[in-house]
Amino acid sequence: MHVLETKNLTLSYGEHIILDQLNLTIPQGKITVLIGSNGCGKSTLLRSMARLLKPASGSILLDGEMMIKLPTKEIAKKLAILPQGPVSPEGLTVLQLVKQGRYPYQKWLQQWSSKDEAIVQHALQSTGMAELSDRLVDSLSGGQRQRAWIAMTLAQDTDTILLDEPTTYLDLTHQIEVLDLLFELNEKEKRTVVMVLHDINLACRYAHHIVAVKDKAVYGSGKPEDIIDRELIRDVFNLECEVVPDPVFGTPMCVPYGKGRLMNGVKKNDIHIHA
């Protein structure tokens, strides 16, 4: 069963084609991570799957239905997206932000039903933001702020969540905090998570399914253990590296070549690696 599927999807900005005739499936109930070099179109792909960008041609299917034919509010009840680096207006509390995830369910006079309240509370609990719900979003740390936004997408009560680089601008501690949270949401609540990540090692650690994008097309997709190797990294990122098992998780870990102070623990005097 596929939640999201693209059929001959072509995306472009004006005349400039970003992705050409793409066929892709996103497995249900899994964490899928899109990887690729800067500007390869992975974010564009994610945005188009959330109907933020209209395809030049081809189509996107959500639960087997043509997305373009679904009312936008119905899509919002099935699929939530957290874009990259969202900015909240000054003076908004966490609760006021998270509450807005209920937008597709609200009506003129019905803006805070018991169900709204229960789901917002649940979203705050599962992101660990319940204690901070009266705080202003501006006053939070980067990691907390990102958790608040994730809570808002959770309040949308969708089976599928799309996130565009949810760890950008976060230090390592907060990156892990956010990714662990998404992992738990997938694990406990069986939500399908699709995200763009820059860090391949973290991608391998959390993703069930990886999609590598290169040259306007999907270069390869599958389990990280099956597809991430030297060749893929060389072709997709144009980078020479060793792929070794992650010492903690055993998942593939890329150790890139390049310049550095030491080589194999010793000072490298005249060793030159030509990548």
Binding site: R51, P89, L92, Q96, Q100, P104, Q110, W112, S113, S114
Partner: protein
């Protein structure tokens, strides 16, 4: 005490989350508006205490006192309040759709459009002896048309595969400069005495308001205000940015268009009766935001009341302190507003 109260009726079909602090502020400012109202009714060449003013309003005064209060002061006060409400709510809406805290009716040229229309109106419908050839009562209509034309221009020029906030602001500032230039041009070309008349109008004054003005403006303001309150959750979502708004299923273009239309209606009708009273649309939402934050359910009512207080205070001072000279209300709103604007710019620079 809990910070929020859930209000629910009819099996949640009517349900809101009320922020207690915001509710409290709204009540306090409403009371404050009431006090300013009574003081304003009592002030003028004939001075009454607020208590006396209250009694006169209830019909317990002499016929002379009633005449002063009912026929001269009340309409003017009510127009001030309505205009303040309209400008403040329009400002708050513009700040949301443009996602810019410095946006206001003045800055994006809508008020300017009304000014051009008024100057043109005075120039076209005058004969050689400087007398108007049509009734002055048509001037509000001219102002409204001017505001609407600029809003339409703004929309058309900013449109490019959709309506981006950024383009709206830039095009708006361009239009503002253009209307300013046109107003000056027509004033210089036109006869000198009209320039004076036009100038009072452009500064913004509620001088000479009467009950028929109130009868026209009140229903318009009330209807538009209700629509604004219905649209609060759309305003809230717009403030989170285009991607978020589209993501939760908002029909962004349509909402932006109707919100722009709504604010044009509010500005146009306010400007039509009170001229270009400046800075209220900027200041009132800002002060409200400082007090209750940026959730529109809290922000709109408080902005409206603060706007009403500002214009009413400005006009009360203007018509009493410098007697027998009347100073237009717009002079005072600008006198507080301009430094406030500079302060905001300064703060933004340091942010």
């Amino acid at each position: 005490m809990r910070k929020y109260a859930s209000v629910r009726a009819f099996r949640d079909r009517i349900s809101f989350l009320i922020d207690r602090k915001a509710f409290l502020y709204t009540v306090i400012f409403l009371l404050f508006l009431g006090v300013v109202f009574l003081i304003s009714v009592g002030m003028g060449e004939q001075l009454f205490s607020p208590w006396k003013a209250f009694n006169i309003m209830l019909g317990n005064g002499s016929s002379f006192e009633s005449l002063i209060v009912q026929s001269f002061r009340m309409p003017r006060i009510l127009i001030s309040i309505l205009v303040g409400i309209s400008l403040a709510v329009a400002g708050a809406i513009l700040q949301a759709i443009l996602r810019n805290p410095l946006a206001s009716p003045d800055v994006i040229g809508i008020t300017g459009g009304a000014s051009v229309a008024v100057v043109l109106f005075l120039a076209i419908f005058s004969n050689e002896s400087n007398a108007l050839t049509v009734s002055i009562h048509w001037m509000p209509l001219a102002a409204f048309i001017g505001a609407t034309i600029v809003a339409i221009l703004l929309y058309l020029l900013a449109w490019k595969n959709g309506l981006s906030s950024f383009r709206l602001v830039l095009v708006g500032i361009g239009l503002w400069a253009l209307t300013k230039a046109l107003t000056n041009l027509f004033m210089i070309i036109g006869p000198i005495h009209q320039a004076a008349q036009a100038n009072v109008w452009i500064t913004g004054s509620v001088y000479g308001s009467n009950w028929s003005n109130v009868q026209i403006l009140a229903p318009i303001t009330i209807v538009l205000l209700l629509i604004a309150f219905i649209m609060t959750r759309h305003l809230n979502i717009q403030e989170l940015g285009e991607d978020i708004a589209l993501g939760v299923g908002a029909r962004l273009e349509r909402q932006r268009f109707s919100l722009l239309l709504l604010s044009t209606g509010l500005i146009g009708s306010a400007v039509a009766f009170a001229g270009g009273i400046g800075f209220v649309g900027l200041m009132a939402p800002h002060i409200a935001r400082k007090l209750v934050g940026s959730s529109f359910g809290n922000l709109l009512p408080l902005s409206a009341i603060i706007g009403a207080v500002l214009v009413l205070l400005a006009d009360t001072i203007g018509r009493t302190v410098f007697l027998p000279i009347e100073v237009p209300a717009g002079v005072f709103t600008a006198a507080i507003g301009a430094p406030y604007f500079i302060y905001l710019l300064y703060r933004q620079r340091n942010a």
